[in-house]
């Protein structure tokens, strides 16, 4: 009975889907508009999560522990402590600042402050101790590192105490608060954006369902003429894919001026993050996600919606 091959069927179904999209005019336009809104939401989630990630990264990098050594401590003792700390699994890196370097930094910081510099010269000797700046991999791990330093009564080779102070215990509340904020911001952001995405997908799904509801008579006619289920479904799915594809491309075009306009603002607010350059440098990745989501939402919604009106 069936005399045509798959290629011909595919051609017929695609053609019918394309004509259906084109000839439905306003109905297709309505679906495209709603789909564009959904894809804008999905795209915004990508941008927001990028902004969040980069901000978190910045904040994390700002948190550290400074260990101040007394001025008389030996460099070799400090370096041996440094290697010990570096061997801790939580620690990502340790920076050693020698007494001389600390003095140099101090002078640099106060180069416009003559009085302080004069007072420093009066002293004759270098009043600053060496420091170790420790960065942990996660903000929550600073406590462990600080406790290690405290418990491990770190002594010099001759047995005297060489650590002057560890500033973690002063910064502790601030660090704790920050890591809590970072965590909850990430969770909240994830939940909120997921909710937004789900809501807009539901709206799009319902819009597409309505457009197919308009065609429910046609669907029954097609079946009365003897068209198989898949042959009836096919063109509607193709139309859905087209709606997704076109909406995806429109959305990508819209993001160009939007991110350009927001670029300057984000650059001032989140240090060094320009949303426009992020958009350009990740263009193909974002294109793939946005257009891909559009096509998937369009195809799946159409598929499910037609199924409802198929008898047999």
């Amino acid at each position: 009975m069936e005399k045509v091959e798959f290629k011909t069927k595919l051609k017929r179904v695609s053609k019918a889907g394309f004509f259906n999209f084109w000839r439905s005019g306003y109905v297709s336009l309505a679906s495209v508009l709603v789909m564009v809104v959904t894809l804008l939401v999905i795209g915004s989630v990508i941008f927001i999560s990028a902004v969040l990630n980069i901000t978190m990264e910045e904040l994390r990098n700002k948190v550290d522990i400074n260990v101040y050594f007394i001025t008389t401590s030996q460099e070799k003792d400090i370096l041996s402590i440094k290697t010990k700390i570096e061997s801790l699994p939580e620690v990502s890196n340790v920076e050693y600042i020698s007494r001389e370097k600390a003095l140099e930094n101090f002078r640099l910081r106060h180069e416009n402050d003559q009085i302080t510099l004069q007072a420093l010269d009066e002293l004759g000797d270098n009043p600053l101790g060496a420091t170790l700046n420790i960065k942990a991999k996660e903000p929550s791990q600073y406590e462990g590192v600080a406790n290690f330093l405290n418990e491990e009564n770190i002594l010099s080779s001759d047995g005297s105490k060489i650590i002057d102070k560890i500033n973690y215990f002063e910064n502790r509340t601030a660090i704790d608060k920050l890591s809590r904020i970072i965590n909850s911001a990430e969770h909240l952001g994830l939940v909120l954006s997921l909710a937004l995405v789900v809501v807009s997908i539901i709206i799009t799904f319902n819009t597409i369902r309505l457009t197919i509801y308009i065609s429910r008579e046609e669907i029954s006619v097609m079946q009365l003429v003897g068209a198989s289920k898949n042959y009836v479904k096919g063109p509607f799915v193709v139309t859905g894919v087209l709606v997704g594809l076109i909406s995806g491309l429109i959305t990508m075009l819209l993001f160009l001026p939007i991110s350009y306009w927001l670029g300057g603002m984000t650059e001032n607010f989140f240090i060094g993050f320009n949303i426009f350059s992020y958009y350009l440098s990740n263009f193909f990745q974002i294109l793939f996600i946005v257009v891909g989501s559009g096509i998937a939402i369009g195809a799946v919604s159409s598929f499910l919606a037609v199924r409802k009106y198929l008898k047999l």
Binding site: M1, E2, K3, V4, T8, R12, F19, N20, R23, S24, E217, E218, V221, M222, Q223, L224, V225, G226, A227, S228, K229, Y231, K311, L312
Partner: protein, 211 residues
């Protein structure tokens, strides 16, 4: 309950008309012939198979062998005349070359060749019904089922449609028709089954419209 213990047989190449007041069950009966509805009891036999036991795939094959025409035309609004007729052939899995040669041919048969590229909303009622008939016959079905095909048409178009159905019947296709129209029945002059309240009350070999 729309139908109650109906029983009849239609022979190949017959032209049978069902008449009766609205609500007599004519449309329900035709829906059962197309397996759109199923009887709670009893059988609908096509050749020697009960169509209520067919798989959905076999129902599709069966429907390609039965052309259906309705009072409200049921054309696909987003397809032009050519595509509406071609759709039935595509659904039946016919190759492109056959479609390209058969569609103009069948349009000639219903005398609608000039409107081949028009859309349904650009056609009159009579023209739409002729497209519907062309779609119904293009797969050379064994049977044409026409449910009040002239219900929405003026007398001139009604006459044309009846002439087309008679021509199709003369070419060897069984025609099953329902109608309210006395003139239609009288001009056909073939077998008439009269229904009332879901029952067959008369079955005349060369019937007139009697109620």
């Amino acid at each position: 309950m729309a139908l109650d213990k109906v029983s009849f047989t239609v022979e190949p190449n017959e032209f049978v008309s069902f008449v009766g007041p609205s609500g007599a069950g004519k449309t329900t009966l035709l829906k059962m012939l197309l397996a759109e509805e199923r009887p709670t009891e009893g059988k609908v036999m096509l050749h020697d198979m009960d169509i209520n036991f067919l798989s959905s795939q076999d129902i599709n094959f069966m429907r390609r062998k039965i052309g259906a025409v309705f009072q409200d035309f049921r054309l696909l609004p987003n397809k032009n005349v050519y595509e509406n007729i071609a759709f039935a052939m595509e659904a039946a899995g016919r190759p492109d070359e056959e479609i390209e040669s058969d569609v103009p041919h069948v349009l000639e048969l219903v005398d609608l060749s000039p409107k081949i590229w028009n859309f349904p909303n650009e056609l009159s009622g009579g023209e739409k019904q002729r497209v519907a008939i062309a779609r119904a016959i293009v797969n050379q079905p064994d049977i044409i089922i026409a449910d009040e095909p002239t219900g929405n048409l003026d007398p001139a178009n009604t006459y044309d449609i009846v002439q087309i159905l008679k021509k199709i019947n003369n070419l060897g296709t069984t025609v099953i028709l329902t109608t309210h129209n006395k003139g239609v029945i009288d001009s056909i002059g073939r077998r008439v089954i009269t229904m009332q309240d879901g029952k067959i009350i008369r079955d005349d070999v060369t019937g007139k419209y009697i109620l």
